[in-house]
């Protein structure tokens, strides 16, 4: 194995750590003890945005009210596939209180096949509607009631077209086409006939024939999964104020307000600088808020009405018109020698994309064999359009379905060979330096450490009762880095403001404060982290791909280091010495020649005016080397043989965090991912009827897990530091959702 630093921390499952008045975990900075080499990183303070969230003060987009504000409402397609013959808005516009209506006529032309245009057509249909729920028009009126009534008064004539709902229907010969101009990408030579296959992806290594010929055991299985929704509790919401002559100000619930700015501008044919986006608190996203839906509609309604406009989706709209993750059909064939070592793998993946082409099957292809060394493989993946809402990212998008296939086939091989399921995974686990499907050799990872952590955990050896089963699975997610910006300001009293461009969807402000505290050497309680609007901080990519604590955290570290350079310069000036004689540690400037007493940060900020003016520093970067994350989980469950009801009894999840900046929120990501995976495995699915209309667009019929469905979720944080990051951070947000589906299947099998 690689020489990695390994530490595990554990949170017990049976009872809360204590019932002391001081609470269950968090401690003030003064009472916390240093952990290893760090004073703040790795501690568990109360999150900076917490007080507002437990008192009801936190301001989400739907909470905002502006003077003169109108309410917008959307008219959506009742058909899965139809040509729009005509739209008559005259009756709606004549209704009292109605101030503006927008339709396709209000938007610039869309170029078919262009990704931006696909987004544009998704949120305002042009020539036809391609799924039930697609936007056809939007209205702004003085009250919500009036806006709803006016939307209903818009007359739309449709010519209903035949539709397709699954990859099989869409790929069948003679299937109705969603896009006459869709010629499958990734096929040589390029096809001459259009189809519903947006893209083919293909990866291979070695020789399949040789590989399977060398196998003692070969198992091939086929899997289908249904679309599931991210299920964030806060519906999409936006307030737009376009009353300034050449500008619109937008408050919205988004994982990436810079993307909202850019996409909205492109869709409207505006300059990005004409749109200022302020990130509201976001009530969950999980990938589902990485694109735009309402924003351009609200901006344009506000422009037409010359008043601010608020738009809030209903839950029904969220289900029908925003992002589920794809339904799939996947075939996986694996061959192994008697000792369990994999010699060949073949995968065929077809992923629904919804009504416009995406790249979800390609991501599935990247992930399907990623945790294992397989010398001979062939992976073929198809991205397929169907008449359903446009798929968007959901936590490690595309990986859970691919893992469902590979991890259950691997388990079957383990059973056939009589090898422990953890042992067979350890035998095949990729290691640093191994080739990967994406090209570059595997970096330093924590896969084996998560496997051993589960093998050694008490649950793995706990006795099982009748009708009870145990299953394990491993999950992989590649994680991304991308672009981030951060700005640090010091106040005269020595407190600090740390601003980034990353919406905080899981506690990232707490992590930013801890990394800044470590760099500056001041208590995190003296640091106020915030998420700045698109005017006030450098460009920052969306909070997605488990990138924020990694990439934006890195930008915070760099901004703080630039600040420390300035602090040393100021101290040198105050002392009248060369800056080379000043070093920074423990929140103070130290004179290495010892002639001067240390100058704490607050003494330097107090003199900032006379030593050069305000202290501010920024950093922007494009973070590389995010490095993949791994999670291994063990599930114990009980199956009622009469009803088929599955009760989850115990779960332990081990995940490599690289370095857990705030362990409580790392655990929170792990636990949240596990439970979303449980819902996917047991309860959740989109149900469309034969007309292509969704039949369970509400939380009563689309049932996400509730507290009484679940046990405690035990967490084992594995720390194999990521060499690319100043603190060794590895993204932790997503991979936890990957193992539950196969682990539960393996436990039932």
């Amino acid at each position: 194995m690689t020489t990695t630093e390994k530490k595990t921390s554990k949170q017990g499952s049976s009872k809360p750590a204590s019932a002391k008045k001081s609470g269950v975990g968090a401690e003030p900075a003064s009472a916390r003890s240093a952990k290893g080499q760090y004073k703040y990183v790795g501690t568990r303070p109360v999150r900076p945005d917490g007080l507002d969230k437990v008192t009801g003060r936190a301001r989400f987009a739907a909470d905002l009210v502006l003077p003169g504000m109108l309410h917008g409402h959307v008219l959506r397609s009742p058909h899965a596939h139809a040509r729009i013959v005509s739209i008559d808005t005259s009756a709606a516009l004549a209704m009292p209180g109605v101030k503006a209506v927008v339709t396709r006529d209000d938007f610039p032309d869309a170029v078919p096949g262009n990704p931006v245009s696909d987004v544009a057509c998704n949120l305002m249909a042009r020539d036809r509607v391609r799924y039930e729920g697609q936007v056809v028009a939007a209205v702004a009126a003085t009250t919500r009631r009036q806006a709803r009534a006016a939307a209903a008064a818009i007359e739309v004539e449709y010519e209903v077209l035949p539709h397709v709902l699954t990859v099989d229907e869409a790929m069948a010969a003679g299937a109705p086409l969603l896009h006459e101009g869709m010629f499958t990408r990734g096929v040589e030579p390029a096809p001459t006939q259009p189809s519903n296959v947006a893209m083919r992806s293909y990866f291979e290594a070695g020789s399949l024939d040789t590989g399977f010929a060398a196998a003692d055991v070969v198992v091939e299985r086929e899997f289908t999964t249904k679309p599931v929704h991210q299920g964030y509790i806060e519906p999409h919401a936006v307030v737009a104020d376009s009353t300034q002559e050449d500008r619109s100000v937008v408050w919205c619930s988004s994982q990436g307000h810079f993307r909202v700015q850019q996409q909205t501008a492109k869709m409207l044919g505006w300059e990005p600088s004409q749109i200022k986006v302020l990130p509201a608190e976001i009530g969950g996203g999980f990938g589902g808020k990485t694109t735009i839906y309402l924003e351009p509609l609200a901006v344009l309604l506000s422009r037409k009405a010359n008043r601010p406009v608020k738009m809030v989706m209903t839950r029904d709209e969220v289900f029908r018109a925003t992002g589920p993750t794809p339904g799939t059909r996947i075939k996986v064939k694996l061959g192994a020698r008697r000792d369990g070592s994999l010699v060949a793998g073949k995968a065929w993946l077809a992923y629904e994309n919804g009504a416009f082409g995406g790249f979800w099957a390609m991501l599935g292809a990247w992930c399907v064999f990623a945790p294992y060394r397989i010398p001979n493989y062939q992976i073929e993946a198809y991205d397929v359009v169907v008449n359903k809402p446009v798929n968007i990212a959901y936590r490690a998008p595309s990986a859970p379905m691919a893992a469902f296939a590979t991890e259950t086939v691997l388990d079957e091989i383990a059973v056939e060979l009589g090898i422990d399921p953890i042992e067979i995974r350890l035998r095949n686990a990729i290691k640093e330096g191994d080739p990967t499907v994406l090209g570059p050799p595997c970096p330093r990872i924590g896969l084996e450490e998560t496997l051993r952590a589960i093998r050694d955990c008490p649950q793995y050896r706990a006795p099982l009762g009748p009708n009870q089963g145990r299953g394990v699975a491993t999950g992989y997610w590649f994680n991304i880095g991308e672009q981030s910006s951060a700005t640090v300001h010091l106040n005269e009293n020595g407190t600090a403001i740390v601003l980034t461009g990353s919406p905080d969807i899981g506690g990232s402000r707490a992590s930013m404060a801890l990394m800044a505290a470590e760099e500056l050497g001041i208590d995190d309680e003296r640091i106020k982290p915030g998420v700045a609007d698109t005017d006030s901080v450098g460009y920052t990519d969306t909070t997605e791909g488990s990138r924020t604590t990694y990439a934006t955290g890195w930008a915070v570290v760099e901004a703080c280091r630039a600040m420390v350079v300035k602090l040393r310069e100021r101290a040198a000036k105050m002392w009248g010495v060369d800056v080379a004689e000043v070093e920074w540690r423990d929140g103070a400037a130290h004179h290495t020649k010892g002639a001067n007493d240390p100058l704490p940060l607050a003494k330097i900020t107090a003199k900032a005016k006379s030593t050069g003016g305000p202290l501010a520093a920024s950093a922007s970067l494009n973070a590389r080397g995010a490095g993949p994350g791994f999670s291994t989980q063990v599930f114990d469950l009980e199956l009622d043989p009469e009803t088929g009801l599955v009760k989850i009894l115990r779960v332990t999840t081990a995940q490599d965090a690289g370095r857990a900046i705030h362990p409580s929120y790392v655990e929170g990501q792990m636990q949240g991912g596990v439970v979303q995976g449980i819902g996917w495995a047991l309860n959740e699915e989109y149900i469309h009827n034969r007309k292509g209309v969704m039949e369970n667009a509400g939380f009563l019929d689309y049932r996400i897990p509730v507290a009484s469905d679940l046990p405690m979720i035990d967490t084992l944080i594995v720390e194999v530091p990521n060499p690319a990051h100043p603190y060794g951070v590895r993204g932790v947000g997503e991979v936890g959702i990957v193992p539950p589906i196969p682990a539960i299947a393996n436990a039932i099998a």
């Binding site: 809360p16 609470g23 109360v46 437990v54 008192t55 009530g283 939380f699």
Partner: protein, 159 residues
Amino acid sequence: MSRTQVTCTVNGDPAEFLCDADQSLLDALRDEMLLTGAKEGCGTGDCGACSILLDGRLTCSCLVFAPEAQGRDITTVEGLALGDHLHPLQQCFLEGAALQCGVCTPGFLIAAKALLDSNPEPTETEIRYALAGNLCRCTGYDKIVRAVESAAATLRETA
């Protein structure tokens, strides 16, 4: 349409508002009284983000017509803290990292208060069933259940 005048008590204070006959109490709280702590996650009583106490009883405010609040006593999340003193549930949610995005948190705090008001020493199972009407998509409920256990212990110690 003429509007209905409603007089009630909200978080201990006398309150008056005008509402439509078919307006939900949630909308009246948020739009007429600008108490935006209660959230609309579904509007159909399935998610619990709009939870309030109505005469002490746990209620989805999206399922109550605003005029029904006449003469009633309403507690929202804004009424949990006593001045600067957080309710032990709020304190334990903070210290136990029992929230992530925070949009469901007001509803969970209210539902947990309803439980602890009637059952000061609930088991883990009782807590899980008492909170089963509240959806959280971020946390997996683990830290929420622990926070409620911890708050119950704190309340028993100070009782």
